[in-house]
Symmetry: C2
Subunit: 312 residues, 2 copies
Amino acid sequence: MPKRALVTGATGFIGSHLVRHLLQEGWVVGVLGHKESLTSDALDCNIQSFYYSGITSEVIKSVTEFQPDVVYHLASLFLATHTADQIESLITSNVLFGTQLLEAIGQSRCRVLINAGTGWQNYTPEPPFDLPVFSPVNLYAATKQAFEDIALFYVQTTQLRMITLRLFDSYGPGDSRRKLLRLLLDALKTEQPLGMSPGDQILDLVHVDDICRAFLHAAKRASEDLSQGAAVFAVSGKERMTLQAVVQQLEKAARRRLPVEFGRRPHRPREVIHPWDGPELPGWQPTITLLEGFSQLIWEEKKQTKRSNTSG
Amino acid sequence: MPKRALVTGATGFIGSHLVRHLLQEGWVVGVLGHKESLTSDALDCNIQSFYYSGITSEVIKSVTEFQPDVVYHLASLFLATHTADQIESLITSNVLFGTQLLEAIGQSRCRVLINAGTGWQNYTPEPPFDLPVFSPVNLYAATKQAFEDIALFYVQTTQLRMITLRLFDSYGPGDSRRKLLRLLLDALKTEQPLGMSPGDQILDLVHVDDICRAFLHAAKRASEDLSQGAAVFAVSGKERMTLQAVVQQLEKAARRRLPVEFGRRPHRPREVIHPWDGPELPGWQPTITLLEGFSQLIWEEKKQTKRSNTSG
């Protein structure tokens, strides 16, 4: 019998890739999210959609109806920095919705929750890197931690097992986020100078397919060992390098120089210079090197440019 | 110049006593809370009231206008056990409101937050009592921890200093809560048998005046040493004893036997048998013994009974 996965954040970058991986592996997939986001044509027609209206009883109804074996909780509101008027949305998206989901799971026969955390929950400005308490880079990361602590109540009072995967930077095809690689790929195309920070911060880029494999591996692990309660693992790409070295890798993949000008901008406040060095997810390894991943991205970019030129 | 204190939860049992202590010590007091609760006649006319409407910008306006030196954050929704339809209220009262308050403090010249936590954030079913992670007794305690997590972000990114006082059981005059001592005092009056659990759980009862002194002491400590970031202390009454022994103390104070029948009810799920053994607030000591505090309570009860008999 195929396994049943309920995914939140299914239309996000990682979420949409995860849904594809789950379908490929034969899972029955349901998604739970705001109606506006779920009507996106990114969703496969084999997927059952459940709409989140803000009401706890409706979240319970969705989980009860779908009967997942595993819930993958990827939904969150990401804000690098927040303004006062975004606080309510941050708490609602990252704490309240998750707690409603936990309540619903607690009332269902589902025993496994795989939760997307962030390396930013563990800001490490200076060595030694293991601070006594968690230290969030921003309010977004603080709300992720708040959710994890609320989840501990459910783990300790129900049969739920939870693995939180702390993610670093992700990349891969179909990424519309205005993040580093998008800026670099655009600079490659336009040849416009791109002013950046000094570039000495260490990045931990992981290909989205490797991240999805980590999620599936975590679900397997939690399902097989129901004794372990709540666990937290880092999903690290194993090729940690400075931003400068990342640019060099991309230049190598593109076989061209990038018009990047380092030192033109200051570091952000609380810029992560050393990513968190947390325990690794046992039994999982990234399989796609940066050079391979970047080459794939550049190839996709060229294909798209050609396509839009042809149709234009 | 007198110090300015903004108090949340000012109409609760501890909050109302704290406001009285602050006024006695010459503080200028403002209170922030729902309009319905603040129109209570429990409030002194010297107090400036700010109404909480749910909107972040209005919390910021209140804090900006009052300009507190210290914020005492005691407001919370307490639920021993929750139902699904109470989740939104728990998150709103115990996480969202606190976060809005932190944002407002961060934008003000206030540097000190004294926060009311609960010993229930650290459920300790068995020795050894220091678990690796926090372990909440109930969802209420989990939301208190979630707030503390979020507060760490503000402590680390602003000049705010925070002391969280983890409270255990409180008692004292004017306590209308349906808690242990109320039940015992009622049984003393009515002489109706009172069925209880086996009574082997250890209680840590602290007189409300001692708790208020702990809050003022914590504010002094945080104001004098601005280097320390976030700290957590237990406010323990130092006379930890079983529920059975507490009943004996009350019998001693009343000079009468109480009609208590132990073992008639089971322990609650996750009954706290051993209260958390956390670090004590340095420089503070309880001054009121249980026998003194209980004698005062019984005397107050008699006075009230007499008064209502006279007026009836």
